[in-house]
Subunit: 422 residues, 2 copies
């Protein structure tokens, strides 16, 4: 891991070593960011090599093509990253980063691939995290590949696909009658209990769970930041005018901004950074509320309710970082309601051939809103993230559209066979 200089607290700047597992800053519990010696790296890390690395026969093309700015450990990989950038059929300037192409069908694979690779490097045996659904599937998959036990807490009303995949990957799964915030509290309580037991010699220290919650360990950001490297590389090492990103915990947005800083320091890109648009669901919009009120932190969003389960995060741990980045970039935090979200899922299915996840559709619905308000034009270069596969939300989408699962009884038709029009 020679490449990593130190871990730095995003709040107080305190520095800690990456030679051993770290969660948050020991001083003020701020999120720890991975810092490299970019001045030294600038001499050796060339963007030309990235494409060459990605094209090396025998490798799968993926996020590890950016190895120069990642921890140098053996990656636990399932083929994550370097997802397609798709040209919209209708809007000249709009391209979609199709994160459904990732393992477990969502962008969560990037962060968990990095976090689990580090956990394996550190020799950790038990990883724990709360999840709104998709992080659970990703953690469970990479933990299975690494021979590590995943302990997962998620709301019991997540899409069934999230429950089945966690089970399929052999995770220790707990369904919670509450929100991800309740899950997070319970993970923290479990670990606090275990640490007491371990301190009292009543439990082996290496059986204490290690928490990989959003922004509470340094490496999920390192995985997610590759979205920023990719979008710049796929645009020919140029910045777009805007990035539209569905925001639950905000790790991806924080990671992309970090990627832009690093790429500028390395001389890989220059010019004006994109406006960062953070998209939420009206039923759970703590960041949109704080942004509108000009606040630097969000408040717990009471009564959070949206069918876009990935956006059901009532109090993001690093809310202040997201708000700061959005404001610095000249972007906005926008909230759209579930009707607009599921209408947009249908619109993009019929007209673009993409089955978006509800979170991705929060971005497309917001894009429509910004076009209507004249804040964006169809020719502006916009990178919009579809953060996951609509296929993980089959029941949710069917429910939102009022599609009955029962097949209508067959009736005879003039031309052979018994058929059922739908």
């Amino acid at each position: 891991m020679s490449r990593i200089a130190f871990l730095e607290c995003a709040v107080c700047g305190n520095r800690v070593s990456a030679e051993e597992p770290q969660t948050v800053c020991p001083v003020d519990a701020g999120s720890l960011m991975v810092r490299y010696d970019l001045e030294a790296l600038k001499q050796t890390a060339k963007r030309e090599n990235v494409a060459a690395l990605g094209a090396t026969p025998g490798r799968s093309v993926g996020m590890w093509r950016y190895a120069d700015v990642m921890p140098d450990v053996d990656p636990v990989t399932l083929g994550e990253g370097f997802t397609p950038m798709l040209q919209s059929q209708r809007y000249d300037g709009l391209v979609v980063k199709e994160e459904a192409a990732n393992p477990t069908g969502t962008f969560k694979a990037r962060g968990m691939a990095a976090a689990v690779s580090m956990a394996k490097h550190y020799g950790l045996k038990h990883l724990a995290a709360p999840s709104a659904g998709n992080a659970a599937g990703a953690l469970a998959a990479y933990a299975a590949a690494a021979g590590i036990t995943a302990h997962i807490f998620m709301p019991k009303d997540v899409p069934f696909a999230n429950i089945l995949e966690a089970k399929a990957y052999g995770a220790d799964l707990t369904l919670v009658d509450g929100l991800i915030s309740d899950c997070g509290r319970m993970v923290a309580e479990r670990i606090a209990e275990q640490k007491k037991l371990a301190a009292a010699g009543e439990m082996p220290a290496n059986e204490v769970w290690f928490e990989v919650s959003t922004m509470k360990e340094p490496f999920r950001v390192e995985g997610k930041k590759t979205m920023g490297y990719e979008l710049v590389e796929q645009l020919g090492w140029k910045y777009p005018d805007a990035v539209m990103y569905p925001t639950g915990g905000g790790v991806g947005l924080i990671g992309m901004w970090k990627a832009f800083e690093e790429m500028e320091a390395l001389g890989w890109v220059s010019g004006k950074r994109p406006k960062m648009y953070s998209l939420q669901a009206a039923g759970c919009a703590p960041l949109a509320k704080a942004f509108g009120e000009g606040k630097t932190r969000s408040e717990f969003f009471a009564g959070a309710e949206t069918m876009a389960s990935g956006l059901r995060v009532p109090k993001p741990y690093a809310d202040w970082m997201v708000l700061e980045i959005v404001r610095e970039s000249g972007g906005e935090v926008i909230a759209v309601d579930d009707k607009a979200i599921f209408d947009s899922v249908g619109d993009w299915g019929r007209n673009e051939g993409l089955l978006l996840c509800p979170e991705g559709a929060a971005a497309t619905a917001s894009y429509d809103k910004l076009l209507a308000e004249g804040k964006l034009t169809a020719s502006d270069r916009v990178v919009l993230f579809n953060t996951g596969a609509g296929l993980k939300y089959v029941d949710t989408i069917a429910e939102a559209w009022g599609i009955r699962r029962e097949v209508v009884l067959p009736k005879a038709l003039p031309v052979g066979g018994i058929i059922t029009p739908v």
Copy 2:
């Protein structure tokens, strides 16, 4: 399309032009194969350029990196192909081609991307196909992207994900109380009727459906063949010892063999071709039966029943081609039962971090069988295809494993929150 020399009937060798839409051979209804002037191409088409093309900034990496040996039309693309090749965690020689990374979550995207790109080039407005499920989703998605109407017939008991995606992409969907063979017959009957009406001037000719059924139009094979190009490129332009391929209609296996022929003619690869293992479900194993009986054609498999819906093809149209290739390669056609299939889904989830589709698990279960019989060793270089995302089979897998969808009633626990152990 200057690159294409002609279309050749796989049965009688009859040649027809690719300048206009073609289905099957006008002489004997044999499948038409796309032939290029490989001698001429050999001078210009270099394998080195392939990687360079794939690595070009601004392009998504995908199957169109093999443009030199594809029709030169504007592709209708959703980011299909160049899927990850994953090293097994347990078997040194085994790598998995993870086709779940494709648009619509399965390998069907490759064939439909090529077929729909050609349909758009020809100016066709209506495409029709029977489907065991996943071809329908792929056809519907690419048709939506191309502004073409897709008319789809599939068994009413396909996974719900297949029904929802077809609807989401705006397809004209008909659910049939029967098998894909019934669906195929109905598509043929519809089109025959339409042609009569068109001939009688009672229907506009351009509203007659064009059939893109398996092996009944030339370009789905061209899309699927890229799996053969990719596996050779990803192994450093070398052949593996064996390829394991779940077989419904067999287009991919036929396509890969075609790719090997083309690559040898172009000087891109040489040496002994891999043994081709064709994998089926015991509940619908027409090819395994014919192979075992030393026959050159299969018989309609009566009472076909398996939860691996993609393998529910009782009489593949090009059965003789699959059998010929498997025999020529020194491979086998193997059938495994549904219990072995869903046990293997669990095994690969827990131990490899991959949620296989049932069809892919027919391949992994067969791999175990060949290891046990000593016909393969763990160090043999084997490329195994997971043809799609297990996420498209959530209900099927849950049913096979006896997982109840209802969440168990919450009970209080000592440490905060109401939780539900699963």
